[in-house]
Symmetry: C5
């Protein structure tokens, strides 16, 4: 199991620390891990995602689910935040999802437009903001420009920034698809270099090798893949998403591998609310059990918590 950096070694400015500490150490398991509830699928996919459980159409139900399930935060769009969060404000951290789009038009050059700003997140009492970055999209210039402003605002206002790092677009499709080890690894790195505090990825599938870069067209285990992705993210904390509803054991297995590799947490939506309330609570309990085994230190007490893959200090000598 990988050693984790102390929370005080992440290079975060004061406001980001205050808000992220609230999420990581004053909410949920309070052990430095996270379980987030995303609820923007009504925009991203449409209400069809609620057909499996009509109750989930109601944002009020979802907010209460996040509270009762001990989630570390709920990620919603501004419209729902304005109309539904006031009732439970402060009971569960709000992650304002800043951009989003429908899945109706063609997706060859996707760009997720801004629907809200970091300042609006501050005004609503949010503890983090979310941004979907379509890594590899032909529209990447516009995407990066848009992200830059969000990142700068987040720095200015001390707001933790969670990046949905999603490989997308025609070139990704041609080069192995959205969840290859290559694509996910690149997405995590790009988000890290661009300034994410947390990075949400799909679990990488190293067996998807057709079309990927030569370096990734080799035999990698799931453990190796998720481990590399965590290292690519570095001091940007890694979250793995559930994606479409799948078998519970498969989900829990991904969760375990992620946490063992040094990941910080999980962000599961449809796998939670596309079932009855009681089943949802049972599944959440299982996820929490995984997280409970992987605490991250809040303080490093002076210990040098550099990542494991370094050269021994003794080898660092000035050149002549």
């Amino acid at each position: 199991m990988v050693a984790r950096l102390g929370f005080d070694q992440l290079g975060l400015p004061t406001g980001k620390r205050a808000r992220l500490r609230r999420i990581l150490y004053q909410q949920g398991l309070r052990n430095g891990t996270t379980l987030f509830l995303p609820y923007d699928q009504g925009l991203e996919h449409g209400p069809r995602d609620f057909f499996a459980n009509e109750t989930a159409t109601d944002p009020r139900y979802i907010v209460r689910l996040a509270i009762e399930g001990g989630f570390n935060g709920i990620a919603i769009q501004i419209g729902l935040a304005e109309k539904f969060y006031w009732e439970y404000a402060g009971e569960v951290p709000l992650i304002l999802k800043l951009n989003g789009k429908t899945d109706i038009p063609d997706d060859a050059a996707p760009l997720s437009p801004l629907n809200a700003t970091v300042e609006e997140a501050v005004a609503l009492g949010a503890d983090a903001v979310g941004y979907t970055l379509y890594v590899g999209t032909p529209a990447q210039a516009a995407d990066f420009e848009q992200f830059r402003v969000v990142r700068a605002d987040a720095v200015r206002l001390g707001m933790p920034l969670i990046v949905w790092a999603y490989p997308r677009g025609a070139a990704i499709t041609a080069k192995g698809g959205t969840d290859s080890f290559y694509a996910v690894d690149y997405a995590a790195r790009a988000a890290s270099e661009l300034g994410a505090d947390m990075i949400k990825v799909n679990f990488p599938r190293p067996q998807k090798r057709s079309g990927v870069r030569a370096e990734y067209d080799a035999l990698f285990s799931d453990e190796e893949a998720i481990g590399a992705v965590v290292r690519s993210a570095n001091r940007s904390l890694l979250l793995v998403s559930g994606g479409e509803k799948a078998g519970d054991e498969a989900m829990l297995s991904k969760a375990r591998l992620t946490m063992e590799a040094g990941g910080t947490g999980l962000i599961f939506g449809r796998n939670v609310w596309q079932r009855s309330h009681l089943e949802a609570m049972r599944f959440v309990s299982a996820l929490r059990a995984v997280l409970a085994e992987h605490p991250a230190p809040e303080r490093s007490f002076g210990v040098d918590q550099a990542p494991a893959v370094t050269v021994p200090d003794s080898q660092f000598v000035p050149v002549d």
Copy 2:
């Protein structure tokens, strides 16, 4: 019949409450329902819409029609608002339609440009603003960006925001058309997640199943469809539009189904002014009769008015 949320449960800030209360409870039937008169067809379709009744070419006639017909508001573009509303200012609420376009160029990737701002609506004494969101348009990134500014201005200035949630564009055409249950339901949800206070949709046609998403390719009644749309809109109040002039009984039937499903009101233009003045007044009386049967409570007096589709409170228990 569906229980309605109290006006005080909608999560509205003060200025929006003041203006929306004026529309819902101090105008027209004063019972929390609405009947709006839209009059931007001269821009959207051209003067051909006035050929059925030349008198309707004259905006002055329309404003007086709205006043005498007891409408809750009239929706017009800035040019007409500037030149015609001064004479009757305050006699009927003004809904300034902020964007709009002609139907002349190709409509595969529609975008309705801004012709006015929320600040100009304030300056003209408007009680609400209207925005056409083309849900599913290939130009959705530009549309959402434009909408974001309008929404933020509306929040800042306390101005209620009514979204014309219209599925449009090549992908919508390919996926079942503009008035399928799938398209209308998605449009209502998207507008809700993006921050509409009221949402105008066309009445969904569940029988249009060719090309829609699998979840919608099933047998749904009109009641089920409009009920789902109202739930997708949630605390964004739902309006149904009349669209092209059609048979009165068909129109009244849609109106009844909408109100029974929990909708807030109607927005009928061509069906009203594409006929003689006396016939228009008769039809308006019939619409008002429907609305009169579906009042919405102005205050909930502490009663928890959560939507019906929730899990019993007793089932909400913290996970272990």
Copy 3:
């Protein structure tokens, strides 16, 4: 002959009134009609328009022509306004044409870019600004956005706004051409709904029926067509342009029909300056004779000057 609205019934704010009164009642015939001299063809078509009369190449000649001919204003681009209007500043009202383009590149999706601002018009002492709106252009979103800023600036600074409402672009070509009754009527209405104070159109040709909307594919006289266009413009005063140089009698006939239908005036350029000075003066005298027969009242002295096409007041009764 159609009754005209009083100048005080147009819904104009103070600054626009002051400047427009100067144009309509303190210049030229001083009777509420207008004769404008447009001189931006050097940009729009190139110097070839001056080959018929080389003297017209010289902007100084044109300014003097406008003064001596008793025109109500001269419409020029900023470059000529800066270099030539100072000499005669105040002798004839300046209409600063704010946008314009060459006719060299392909015109399938035309957009006329801004070359000057309303503030610059104020600085130059202009009494109005001009804007070319290409109604129906595939670039309409950009056109409307650009226009919105001009309109808002014009309102803010009390500057009358004259819209060159020109149907243009591939869709217009496909739907009957730029001067069909359908196209001109739509253009007038669009400009009116978007906020024009005056609207310049080409004289509609109702006999052009191929490709137009069904409502317009019928037998209309010239009188009916121009009458409908004036009504579509409503309180935005209608001007008819001369277009390419044509026979004098045909021009005068259009002028008469326009004024009889309730139009406010004429804007003739090439028909004036593409001939010798003496011939130009003779033609101008003939145009002025037409205008002299159609004065518009400066004040309505309390008389209700509502347009003719209304329902009798007695029929406006509240619905039950």
Copy 4:
């Protein structure tokens, strides 16, 4: 020979007068003519332009050449201005070329992006700014928009604005090419209407008639062509550029025709620095000899200096 306007008849505001007077009457021949040295070919064409004379690679050499050759100004991009002009600041007027591009990508819809601003020109002590306007480019809307800001800044800061009026793009190619009489004449006029103080054109070639507008498809002499171009430019002073290096006598002939037609000066780069220093000086002397014969009056002492092509004052009589 054509009579010239006095410098005080150009309609220039104070700051532009001060700077332009420095260029025209306090530099070089001090007689109201100009000889400019353009040196942005390293960007526009690449260093290949320096292969004929490697010394010309060095901007320091060029600045000294401009000083010693008695040029009225040197036109360079901001990078060279920042690194090389400080050493000789004030010894020769600086014309900061504000936009520019490489000739590498396809040129069907050219646009020359801004590389510096008028404010930066002021900060560097420039006496004029240069802007390349691609008249007829399919990108004209963007070009004009960009130019508008430059023009407005130049007015605000009293900075003379020299426009490189270059017909370019696919439509120009299809309509007779970049140096036809038609194209050059149109370019001069467009720049004049848009607000240039000086206009740089290539010498028109009236014999290029294939594809041009009908009016230009006739027999014109070089004298007639350049004369028309000067008139199209009007109070915007006309400069003729040398273009690619050509025979000296041909160059001098163009210079003579330009000055005889009323042009203000020459802007010669490659024809000067693509040869040895001594040869360059000899050629410059010959050019200066031409300019010396065509002085323009600094003051008109009350004389009406209107252009020649006017109607006698006696003919300007008010219409009845």
Copy 5:
């Protein structure tokens, strides 16, 4: 060997001098040469670049490598600068790379979007900023516009500006490729004219002659090519990059030729960190040995340090 300009002859304003002096004379060899370590390949190429040496995935390792290797600066993106530079702030100069992109989408019209601003570089204590300019890209208008703002901010804030001058895009591919003498020479000149303080190029390959401009389709030695590139850059200091990892001797040879031609330094990334720590240190030592032989004077003590390719002062005489 070429004489070098003194540091005080570069035309730099105060703030740029202070920061650049720190890089050139107070860091590394302190002799006016530079060895930079670029580390944005994780974004530009993805984590695959780290497969040769997994340790290099860790930004903390790289920062320490730069310090221990005596580099003059490390070039990283904002995300890594924020999370990793705080620990070693001030120990090695930070070059904040302001733009960057992934290599996933098609590269026919590349544009490297801004990910950070010069102000953010100031806030992080950077001593220089880096910008990738894709010389020849069909997107050059957008690239130049974006660069202009960066350059202006860098001037305003006294921040040295290093341009990655990379020929790229479909036209470059068609005209001889990205590393031809033609392309590299043009790129250096363009960056210089646009305002770079330092220019990073790939070593030119004069043998690549197919498709290049005629002037470059001749026999040039490597010495001639790099010499011309240094002259094209002029007072913008030239850096040569290592590019993909290649044989050490080939790399060292390029380094020597560059320095002998008057270049200022080297910027080597993959050739350094795609090997073990000890091997990296050995290679760095060899590079430093080359640089040590080519010091550049910090002060010129009044000596005229004009470039060599000038005309003797005696030949500069005023024309008659």
